[in-house]
Symmetry: C3
Subunit: 150 residues, 3 copies
C-alpha cells in the first residue's frame, strides 16, 4: 500500500514535468508565466562599440519585458576584449551604472586581467571579480541560469 502511494507520487511528479515540456508555444505566448524568478548570465567578450551597446540595450529590454519585469536576475560576465566596457577611460560608465542600479551583477574575469596586464585601478571600482569568465558562465548555467551571447 505504501509502495503504491510512493509510486503515485513519483508518477505525479514525472507527469507534471512532462506536461510542462509539452506546453504549446501559442498558449505560452498568451499565458502569464508562473515562475516567480528568472535568472540569466550575459556574456560580453568583444570591444566592438556596436556590440557592447547592443548587449547593454539587450539587458534593458529583457528587464523591461512584461513577462519578466520584476522577476529577472541578471549577471553580466565580461572576459577577453570585452573588458573595454568596464574601463574608466571608455564611454560606458553611465550605461553600466544604470544597469547596476537595476540590480545587474557586474563580473570581470581575473584571467583576462592577468593575460592583458590590466590593473584593477583601470576599471570601475564597483566591478566584481571571478576566477575565470568561462568558469562563471558554466557554473551559472549548471545552477539553472539561462545564457545570452548577443
Amino acid at each position: 500500500m505504501k509502495t503504491i502511494l510512493l509510486l503515485t507520487v513519483s508518477f505525479l511528479m514525472t507527469a507534471a514535468i512532462t506536461v510542462n515540456a509539452q506546453k504549446k508555444p501559442a498558449e505560452f505566448h498568451g499565458a502569464t508565466p508562473t515562475k516567480a524568478h528568472y535568472q540569466v548570465v550575459y556574456q560580453l567578450n568583444t570591444d566592438d562599440d556596436g556590440k557592447i551597446k547592443g548587449t547593454l540595450r539587450n539587458i534593458q529590454n529583457a528587464l523591461d519585458d512584461p513577462r519578466l519585469k520584476g522577476k529577472l536576475e541578471v549577471e553580466l560576465v565580461v572576459h577577453g576584449a570585452g573588458v573595454a566596457v568596464y574601463r574608466t577611460d571608455k564611454p560606458y560608465e553611465e550605461l553600466v551604472k544604470g544597469l547596476q542600479s537595476r540590480g545587474v551583477i557586474l563580473a570581470m574575469c581575473e584571467n583576462t586581467m592577468r593575460e592583458r596586464k590590466i590593473d584593477k585601478k583601470e576599471l570601475f571600482p564597483f566591478v566584481s571579480y571571478v576566477p575565470s569568465g568561462n568558469g562563471e558562465l558554466i557554473l551559472r548555467q549548471q545552477e539553472g541560469w539561462a545564457i545570452m551571447h548577443p
Copy 2:
C-alpha cells in the same frame, strides 16, 4: 518504516539523476536517446547573408539528425538586424516557409520593430511576435529548451 521507504525513493531518484550525469560520451553516441521530446530556440540577430542561410541550414540539419528526427521542437527567435530574414523584399521566403512547414515556430521581437520603425506589413504575414527577443530566449531556456546561436 514509512520513513525508510520514503528515503529509499528519494535515494533512487537521486541515483537516477547521478547515473545520467555520469553517462560516458562514447556510450551515448552509440546508444539511442530515450527522451521523447527535445526543444531548442535558435537566435538570429544578424543580416549577414551567409549567417542567415547558415542558421536556416543548421535548423534543417538538427531536424534531420537521426537522434532527433521527429522528436525536435524548434523556435526561431529573430531580433535586431536579423529581421532581414522575415522581410518580404528579401530572398528568404522559400527557406523560411520550408522551415514553417516542418513545424518551426517563427518569432519576431517587437522591440526591434519599434526601434527600427518597421511596419508588420513589411514582414511575412505568418510571423509571430514576442515582446522582446531576449526575453523570449530567456523564458524558453528557463522552461528547459536548449539554445543555439550559430
Copy 3:
C-alpha cells in the same frame, strides 16, 4: 498519515530547489560549489585563427578555474568552417592533443564532412564523429550540459 509524510518529502524537495535558485551571487562567489560534476559543450564553427586559439584557451581556463578543477567534463563540438582546428595541415595539433590529454572529447560534425567534401584522412585520426554538430549541441544541453560559444 502516509499522505502527510509524502507531501512533506515533496515539499522538502521543492524547498531545496527554491533555496538553490535564490542563492545570492555574493555568497556563491565566496562559497565552495557543492556539485560534484560539471559538464559543458564548446561550439566552434569559425576558421578565424584568433577565435580558434581563443576557444582552446577558454577551455583551458575553464578546466583550471579553482571552482571547477577536477570536476569539469568538456566536449568540443566542431562544425562548418571550424573544421580547420582538426585538419592535419593546420597548426593546431599540439593544442588539440593537449586538450585531449586533459580528457576533452573531440567531436566533428558529419554533415560538414559531406557538405565540404572532406575525407576523414584529412583530419586527426583521434577525432570522434557525430551525425550533426547542431544535434550534438542540442542533445547535450537537453541532458543538462552548459553551452559555450566563444
